[in-house]
């Protein structure tokens, strides 16, 4: 059917182009942040990230060497060097330059400027300059030169170094990364186990009230967890768990269970009936059937849920803020840390972009590695 309906070449092209546009639109925001995280603060705040991939023309203020470096050449005093030799500057190509802020592009590269009593200054395209005068120079800080140069794209790992390893207590993401891990792993593993047993009972064991229980779980699927915040926090404080890892693990377990049971039950119901009945006839107990047959066969569903729960706990902000993070901020997680950075350092894009990418990186890896299971889980998990 597709080759009939899609046989009009103009339509096929329109499809290709629209998909391309959509993909670009969807990718662009993330790519922008990724590129920004590899640029210096200066670069981010002076030019858009989309310009970072190409050589760009920018005007920079540099200085010649100071009079300490002058040499005598016959009866001339000379300062020589390369303007790009300074700290933090990449090699580039100078097109225009000037010495006054009012006319920063007064001369072309290779021209010699006669600055009268100050001397004669020649700047070449490569950045080499020669500054000469009949009298000794007395400029302690060097002569100012404005150059308009085309510099190649430049990227740096510095932001990641700062964000991950800087030790200033509240700014660092290193510890938050670790805390997030600590929250995520038990909060992913424990509900799977509990849910798997329950799902088996709901799928393969016959008992009165089973249909009602399934309805109960379907209902709980959509209960907003916002309702649970205060009652549970109160409960945790009363029984002495307080705010901390234990509380957040329990909360994530509770909130993840409905989806886990629902997904796993839907999957287990579809397993071949013969295998299970044969095993029963052969004298296997329910416990053995579960651990030896059901669990291995349900691997795809277990993986789907594990990914969901992992993404959800890793990306969560609300549950962590309510059940985990206390006033000391010792147990802060990455999402909370980023919100904090947004508030206090909203202008420091290099820090924000990098911090955000550190937190996004792990889910993205998981996503691309296990996309198959994620899709399968989505298809099984949406209530039909």
């Amino acid at each position: 059917m597709d080759n009939i309906a899609g046989s009009k070449p103009t339509l096929t092209w329109a499809v290709h182009i629209s998909v391309a546009i959509l993909v670009v639109l969807w990718m662009m925001p993330t790519v922008g942040l990724l590129i920004s995280s590899f640029r210096t603060a200066d670069q981010i705040s002076t030019s858009g990230w989309w310009k970072a991939l190409f050589p760009q023309e920018q005007s920079i203020l540099v200085r010649t060497a100071s009079s300490d470096d002058q040499t005598q050449d016959g009866d001339l005093w000379v300062i020589e060097g390369n303007l790009f030799a300074q700290e933090g500057l990449e090699q580039g190509e100078i097109s225009r330059w000037g010495v006054s802020s009012r006319d920063i592009a007064a001369y072309a590269a290779g021209e010699t400027a006669d600055l009268e009593e100050v001397g004669r200054l020649m700047v070449a395209q490569s950045g080499d300059y020669r500054f000469e005068n009949e009298a000794p120079f007395e400029t302690a800080r060097g002569e100012r030169i404005y150059i308009t140069a085309v510099t190649p794209p430049e990227f740096t790992w510095d932001n990641y170094r700062t964000v991950l390893f800087s030790s200033n207590a509240r700014g660092g993401m290193g510890k938050a990364f670790f805390n997030t891990m600590t929250v995520t792993i038990p909060a992913t593993v424990i509900p799977i186990l509990i849910a798997a047993f329950a799902a088996y009972a709901l799928a393969w064991m016959d008992f009165p009230g089973r249909a009602l229980l399934i309805a109960f779980i379907v209902a709980l699927l959509v209960v907003p967890l916002q309702l649970a915040l205060i009652p549970l926090l109160k409960l945790h404080l009363q029984i002495g768990i307080g705010k901390g890892y234990l509380g957040v693990w329990l909360a994530h377990t509770g909130f993840g269970l409905p989806l886990a049971i629902y997904l796993l039950r839907n999957y287990m119901v579809g397993l071949p009936k013969d295998i299970i009945e044969n095993a029963r006839v052969d004298g296997a107990t329910d416990f053995q059937i579960f651990t030896k047959i059901i669990l291995p066969l349900s691997f795809p569903a277990l993986a789907s849920f594990a990914i969901f729960q992992f993404l959800w706990t890793w990306n969560d902000l609300l549950v962590a803020m309510v059940f985990l993070i206390d006033s000391t901020g010792e147990t802060t997680v990455m999402t909370r840390q980023i919100v904090e950075l947004l508030g206090t350092r909203g202008g420091n894009w290099e820090i924000l972009a990098t911090a955000a990418f550190v937190s996004i990186a792990v889910p993205l890896v998981v996503f691309f590695a296990m996309q198959k299971y994620l899709v399968r889980g989505l298809l099984a998990g949406s209530v039909k």
């Binding site: 959509l22 329950a198 709901l202 379907v218 889910p363």
Partner: protein
């Protein structure tokens, strides 16, 4: 103890306790309470098999009841009491007080906007992408690119989109791509998108649409593949053009799935919190219910009104809850 060690211990203890519970409770049931031997062996086996499902279900049911069912009723109770009066029953006072606050109505209005725009836009884009990528070779690559934001946290997305919306003064190069595009297309000066009253809501919604489109696309794409070939072939033979095939043949057949996608996204929208919290925190008239509730609960420490706001969210979810349960029961029969 170091948190990482604690985490490992927790996994070990948690997993061990779960397995131990299931294993030993089964043994106790079969060997001691209802042993499958002696005079009543047959009756005991039957009894054990009646108890066993509840052994398997107990931990899950306990956690579900404690962590989801009980809070619904406790929140309802809290919304009818006043914490400052020592938890005295005050009837609907909290709701009355909430109804007097302009911020609440602002949150309601915005939530309604979100409820209309986000599910509609996500489903529409998802359907569009699903249909378009179905017939091209690099479709699966395109799909995974559009699906990718699903993996990104709302907070991460907030940072990503703050950069998109960033505005520099007019005499400097723009670093936010939206303003750069706006100026290139003839806009006169860079806009502060997130502080433009009313419209800023839509700029926040775009973030959620960006995330949810992938979800809609995955589900709808599977549904489109399930549309029987014969119906499409018949339509083409009858001279239907591709648009007619799509809107008259395919869409009506996947209507059920569209409704599912729509309602699922609706629930996400009702709970939306992180995006607003991280991008504007409800300033410039962008408040939504979930963030309003958080404000009341944890900033103003007003549990009564906060719980009342939570109950409003619950009430809005209720029709979907009933509908889902109704469908699930119908399917089981």
């Amino acid at each position: 103890m170091h948190p990482a060690v604690l985490a490992l211990v927790t996994i070990a203890v948690g997993v061990g306790a779960c397995i131990g519970y299931f294993y030993f409770s089964n043994i106790i049931l079969d060997k001691f309470i209802f042993p499958a031997k002696g005079p009543n062996a047959g009756r005991n086996i039957n009894r054990a098999n009646m108890v066993r499902p509840w052994l398997f279900l107990f931990p899950a049911l306990f956690a579900l009841t404690l962590y989801l069912a009980y809070p619904v009723f406790e929140t309802l109770r809290l919304s009818l009491t006043d914490r400052s009066q020592g938890g005295a029953f005050v009837g609907l006072d909290n709701y009355r007080q909430m109804a007097k606050e302009p911020k609440f109505w602002e949150a309601m209005r915005n939530n309604m906007l979100w409820l209309i725009v986000v599910p509609a836009a996500s489903t529409a884009f998802g359907l569009l992408v699903a249909q378009l990528t179905d017939r091209i070779k690099w479709g699966s690559v395109a799909k995974s690119m559009i699906f990718m934001p699903m993996a990104i946290s709302f907070v991460g997305a907030a940072v990503i989109w703050r950069l998109v919306y960033h505005a520099n003064p007019i005499d400097v190069d723009q670093i936010g791509i939206l303003n750069a595009a706006y100026l290139m297309l003839g806009g006169d000066e860079p806009q502060q998108w997130l502080t433009k009253l009313f419209w800023n809501n839509f700029f926040l919604m775009i973030v959620l649409v960006w995330i949810q489109t992938g979800f809609a696309m995955v589900i709808l794409s599977a549904a489109l593949r399930g549309v029987p070939e014969e119906t499409i072939e018949a339509a083409i033979v009858d001279g239907a053009n591709p648009f007619q095939v799509f809107f008259r043949i395919k869409v009506p057949q996947i209507m059920g799935t569209i409704v599912v996608v729509w309602t699922t996204i609706t629930i996400v929208v009702l709970k939306v919190f992180d995006i607003v919290f991280a991008m504007t925190n409800g300033q410039w008239e962008t408040q939504v219910l979930a963030n309003y509730m958080y404000d009341k609960l944890f900033r103003a420490s007003d549990w009564g009104v906060g719980s009342a706001a939570a109950m409003v969210i619950m009430l809005l979810v209720m029709p979907i809850l009933v509908w889902n349960v109704y469908n699930a029961r119908k399917e089981m029969k």
